[in-house]
Symmetry: C2
Subunit: 395 residues, 2 copies
DNA sequence: CCTTATTTGTTTGATCCTTGACTAATGGCG
DNA sequence: CGCCATTAGTCAAGGATCAAACAAATAAGG
């Protein structure tokens, strides 16, 4: 009775509800009606059909009514966790992380493998494919229930053409990531840049939950970012929106590989911080060491983190003036330094931003830690996968 | 047969069509169907009803089919120009402009009055109200057919609270602009910041027509801006998004009233340019003089414009890296200098932006000139006014 | 405790919209 | 020139959705 793709109106409504539940987890019928713009009665019918097909389950839990105070509480419904799983793959600059989460957002398994710094993408794909297969195996997931694989790629990503696009020479340039990994796995694959996915994850499940105006800043090997405006992730003309590593914070600063001076990336970012400490501490230091020592009171380590924070804060202040976000989320490895980084960062941001923007802005550490990008990849799959789940529903 | 406000589904569809026609001007039924997501048959019915009510007229003109090549051409329909008019009021920093345009986007009348620099808002409201009444009179407009009045206010504007909000002391701070003018005119009034409205106008009718990723930069008394991302104007948490006057382009530059050094506004902007020329040329110079003399080859004037362009370009380059727009539109009084400003601006922008962003970005002068903000105010009214027109339709 | 106000979920007839088929009008191709 | 492919506009039949009314479930207030 169902045509293959020419989604009927009913099919579209059904999908809108499923997608919403994938993103939001658990809601009442009335919540859903408000969110997708259908009437309560229509949503009731759709939910009944989905329950009939075992795609949705109704919990005994009751949800507080919308008005806050009085009113009959709603019945919580959620996607049947057994109805699908999504895989997130995060290519870091020397790791690959893989997680599997079900449609209820529960992380079923998380694995990780170390790679040499500046590994070749091909090497990464092979390893990631192995890791994904192992994870599927260990989790005991039925491959037919996998909705898709989301991939997080370091650096800017041109979503329209589907390739990494840093604008500078890089081994990742021009590689059709989704196709490469898809060929190795035989699964549908979606790809995007790490910063955009980190922002997506923090917005859906982390510190920026539900926030429609925010900036995500990733202090990691390089410095990247992304921002959400009007509730939608900005991509720009070629996927470069939000990339703030080359914001100029000091016109007389050190030379950057981009050809300018004083880019944010020349002050902040893991290699720069580590190199600053090398003369005094040697080259066996890890970031973890630095943070531990700083907390124990080591003045040099404190200063290194504080310097990075100040410069990042200057950039945050300028971004605040331009984008006027409600909140700024700091992610990436450096964010593990906590207040040692954030104190100076906040101070510098306040100094550099106008009261109009600065007073309205909170700055906080991301709440998802190193899993942020892999979770974002999962969120992308849960948010964008379409027919798969519905096609599996039978008559 | 019609309930007052609980818009039925049909009513909503009807409104969507009307609103689309207000924005787009003239389309075929098939175009409308694609744009609002209804079927051709439904749109046909709606148009028939609107024609019946004299709100829409069908032209003899035929529009080329969508596929480009073959196919039956569509019949052009547009809103009946006699069915409504919108008024735009632009408070400049020493002028008030008023225009009246009909729903077909035709400017029926444009008037302007000069004010002392830094006039009081109250004074401006009184004058503007008089000017609007005169304009309505001269145009012979029936007041009952006026959809609303849009107001452009200089500087940042907090749309959520409906008041100007520069974050710095200003006579406009905290004044409920729409209410003030509405009380004087007895008409529905909408207000927003000049830069946002300029961007809106350039997007709808000007150089950024239909562009979903662009930045608008207004080089005027101060320096302001706005940007569109994902096809939607960014407002930010408190209406400050896009305000780029305090982007720091030279950390060692002159002190700015905002408390930082080297803000864009300390290099570009009318007063700064004029003051730079004062020692050599005296204080009787006007911008118009400067531009004329520059075109005639005066080295000092050329240099003043070129310096402003370079600094603005640096900011454009940085904005390009962050926002990755398809195009950047330069508006405001200074943009009248044309290539004398734009040449150095483009050069500096190219130097400051990464290839990823810079190669994808065109920079051009706005095409609406000094009327941009008033037209944007009209666009806001045409885009956001709702019931008024439909309520007037009778049975 | 009982009433009132509020919100949820369900039912039903009416309405709006779409699907599919048909005709009209054009460009491209042999 | 005549045929085909393509798109626009219209019409009838069948569905999807909604509005209205109702019952159920709670909080707040007397």
């Amino acid at each position: 009775m169902r045509t293959p793709l020419p989604e009927s109106r009913a099919e579209r409504s059904r999908m809108a509800v499923v997608r919403l539940l994938r993103e939001q987890g658990t809601m009442s019928r009335a919540d859903i009606a408000r969110a997708v713009g259908l009437s309560r009665s229509t949503v009731s019918g759709i939910i009944a059909a989905l329950v009939e097909d075992d795609l949705v389950v109704e919990l005994e839990a009751r949800l507080a009514p919308a008005g806050g105070g009085a009113g009959r509480p709603g019945a919580a419904v959620m996607l049947n966790p057994a109805s699908g799983e999504a895989i997130g793959v995060d290519f870091g600059y020397r790791h690959v992380h893989v997680i599997i989460a079900n449609v209820a957002h529960a992380v079923r398994i998380a694995k990780s493998v170390r790679l040499p710094v500046d590994y070749e993408p091909g090497q990464g794909f092979d390893l990631a494919a192995d890791l994904v297969r192992t994870a599927i195996d260990e989790a005991g997931t039925d491959p037919s229930r996998i909705l898709g694989v989301g991939v997080s790629v370091p650096g800017p990503f041109d979503t329209r053409r589907g390739v990494p696009n840093s604008g500078m020479p890089s081994p990742w340039s021009g590689i059709p990531v989704a196709a490469e990994l898809g060929a190795r796995l035989g699964l549908p694959v979606l790809a995007d840049g790490d910063t955009k996915l980190g922002a997506l994850a923090e917005r859906r499940w982390g510190a920026a939950r539900g926030c429609d105006e925010f900036v995500y800043m990733k202090l990691h090997g390089g410095v990247g970012g992304a921002f959400v405006s009007n509730g939608r992730l900005a991509r720009g003309a070629t996927g470069g929106a939000g990339e703030i590593g080359h914001l100029i914070v000091d016109a007389n600063g050190p030379l950057c590989r981009c050809g300018n001076r004083g880019c944010l990336e020349t002050f902040v970012g893991l290699p720069v911080v580590m190199r600053a400490l090398e003369p005094a501490y040697g080259d066996r230091l890890t970031l973890r060491n630095v943070i531990t020592m700083a907390w124990q009171g080591d003045r040099g380590c404190i200063r290194a983190l504080s310097d990075a924070g100040s410069m990042a804060g200057r950039a945050v202040g300028m971004l605040g003036n331009i984008l006027n976000p409600e909140t700024v989320i700091i992610g990436g490895a450096l964010s593990a330094a906590g207040e040692l980084l954030m104190g100076p960062l906040r101070e510098a941001a306040a100094a550099a931003s106008l009261p109009l923007a600065g007073d309205a802005m909170t700055i906080q550490v991301g709440s998802l830690g190193p899993q942020a990008c892999a979770l974002g990849a999962v969120a992308m799959v849960l948010g964008e996968t379409d027919e798969k789940l519905l096609a599996a529903m039978g008559s």
